[in-house]
């Protein structure tokens, strides 16, 4: 495989087990050993190899490639240059490799990763998998961390035991991945999907993987993602007819505020708050597209408060008043009583009434 080799597909089509159709055709796999090199005066040479498109390792990588679209669930977007120009060094290196997948071009990607890898991130094994599906070209980048292990070799009736430090993929569920897709090399890609299975909270992706190595940000801005959830919650409240679910949504809206700064999604919030299936369904169906329910963003408390049109006041006599924020002062009259306390008055038709153990 020379430097100038071009992409040729349909070499190893992976059969879709359900439909029997060929779904993804892997054409190249390269692998590199990445040493921590951030802030180091000299960067170690990067060893690399072209992985044959058959055998057990290929089968394992093909499996990872096949599930990549499902696993990588965080949308990212490449950053432009600080002067606003539509150019990104990391993207350029990735596209150059995708155009002509070769060991030297793949090494350029490995160098980008090595340059930002700290000792804390440690040694890693990088795989670059080039493939094609019905929508166009795909590039999957996966990094597996080095782990430790013990090997045992039989020597007649004895065994030889050795401690080894460069063990990779012992746990194939612990890795970082990034998936990029495009209809053509000319069109390229400006967005992609990532996952960081090394983080306990998989909704995040290490800064070093997304921000530094890929020079990207979350595709959703904090404000857009937060506003979307606030609007969905508000719509769910309006559409919901079950008072118990309404109350649950109201409570949830108060608790959500504590998530300021967290990388999350509506789905994750619902799961973390252990909302009932009724409340979860109400929120999910309030999004304009189903995909948005699981869309990742960084929660912004101020944006949420600004968008949520819902206000709740609790009094020291045990009464709780709740109304939409925009109409609160219109439907609930607030006045100062002679006692120095605040008097709230309102009138309307009772649409539901029930006894509850808790608020």
């Amino acid at each position: 495989m020379g430097e100038g080799s071009s992409i040729s597909f349909a070499k190893r089509p992976i059969r879709d087990s359900k439909s029997g159709r060929h779904s993804v055709a892997i054409s190249r796999i390269h692998s590199y050993l990445i040493h921590p090199s951030k802030n180091e005066a000299t960067s170690p040479l990067i060893g690399g190899i072209s992985i044959p498109l058959n055998g057990k390792l290929f089968d394992l990588l093909a499996k990872i490639d096949k599930t990549a679209l499902r696993e990588c669930d965080i949308d990212i977007m490449f950053r432009p240059k600080p002067n606003g120009k539509q150019q990104n060094d990391s993207r350029d290196v990735l596209l150059a490799y995708l155009k002509t997948p070769s060991l030297p071009r793949g090494r350029a990607i490995a160098q980008l990763l090595q340059r930002v890898t700290t000792k804390r991130s440690g040694l890693g094994l990088l795989f670059l998998i080039v493939s094609q599906d019905q929508h166009g070209l795909r590039l999957l980048i996966s990094r597996f961390p080095a782990e430790t292990g013990v090997t045992a070799e039989e020597r007649g009736q004895a065994i030889e035991v050795q401690f080894v430090e460069k063990v990779f993929m012992k746990n194939t569920h612990t890795y970082k991945s990034a998936l990029f897709r495009c209809t053509s090399i000319q069109a390229g890609f400006w967005d992609g999907l990532v996952v960081d299975k090394q983080m306990i909270d998989t909704r995040g992706a290490a800064d070093y993987w997304t921000r530094e190595f890929l020079e990207s940000d979350l595709k959703n801005t904090s404000a857009a993602g937060t506003k979307r959830v606030a609007v969905a919650l508000q719509k769910a409240l309006k559409d919901e007819t079950d008072p118990a679910i309404q109350q649950e949504l109201i409570n949830a809206s108060q608790l959500i505020i504590n998530r300021h700064g967290q990388i999350t999604s509506a789905k994750k919030i619902v799961q973390d708050l252990s909302l009932t299936s009724g409340a979860a369904m109400a929120i999910e169906s309030a999004f304009v597209r189903p995909e948005l329910y699981d869309s990742t963003f960084k929660f912004d408390r101020d944006e949420f408060k600004a968008c949520l049109v819902f206000r709740s006041v609790q009094l020291d006599n045990g009464v709780m008043l709740t109304a939409e924020n925009s109409s609160f002062n219109r439907v609930i009259n607030v006045a100062q009583a002679d006692t120095g306390k605040t008097r709230f008055t309102t009138e309307g038709n009772i649409v539901s009434e029930k006894l509850q153990k808790t608020r």
Partner: protein
Amino acid sequence: MTKSLKESYDQRYDKVLLPIAANLENLLADHLKGRPHIDRIAVRAKSPKSFLTKALKRENGKLEYKDPLGEIQDQLGARVIVFYTSDVKPISRRVMKYFRHIEMLNKQPKSEAEFGYFGKHFILALPEDAIPKKVKLLDAPKVFELQVRTLYQHAWSEAEHDIGYKPARKLTKIEKRNFAFTAAQSWGADRIFQELHKGLKRRSG
């Protein structure tokens, strides 16, 4: 190729771009709600004729776009027209608060001695909220173009586009000078209105 490209774009225009354009306009209006001095917010889907003209553009005999459907980024074009030059910055900040950008350029003539087009241009990630449920995400463009400019910048640009962008013949020197003159007048009008606005605001404040 042209025929299939035309067919592909016609289909995209009707089934994908037009419905997204309507949603995107609403979304933009919602994100910019409450901002003062906005004259209008508009989103258009690039017409098939305009798309084909751009797609078949050649430079040095070679087609500029090898994959026009994937490469042309202004298939959806949005405009926010504001009253004063001082409104461009806060609107741009607001845009960047809600949309991820891959390009942000201040378009202006290369030399300080020239007058021509002024405007702020963004290429932004198309938010999924703007894509109707019936449209598959993979069928929608990934990005759209947004221009923020003043009323005078907009007026000049529209007239220049109509008269000067694709003239039947080469412009004469005096015609070119006339264009520059109108651009200078627009620039001057923006400047005076900005000063008036600032001065009156200070006095009333």
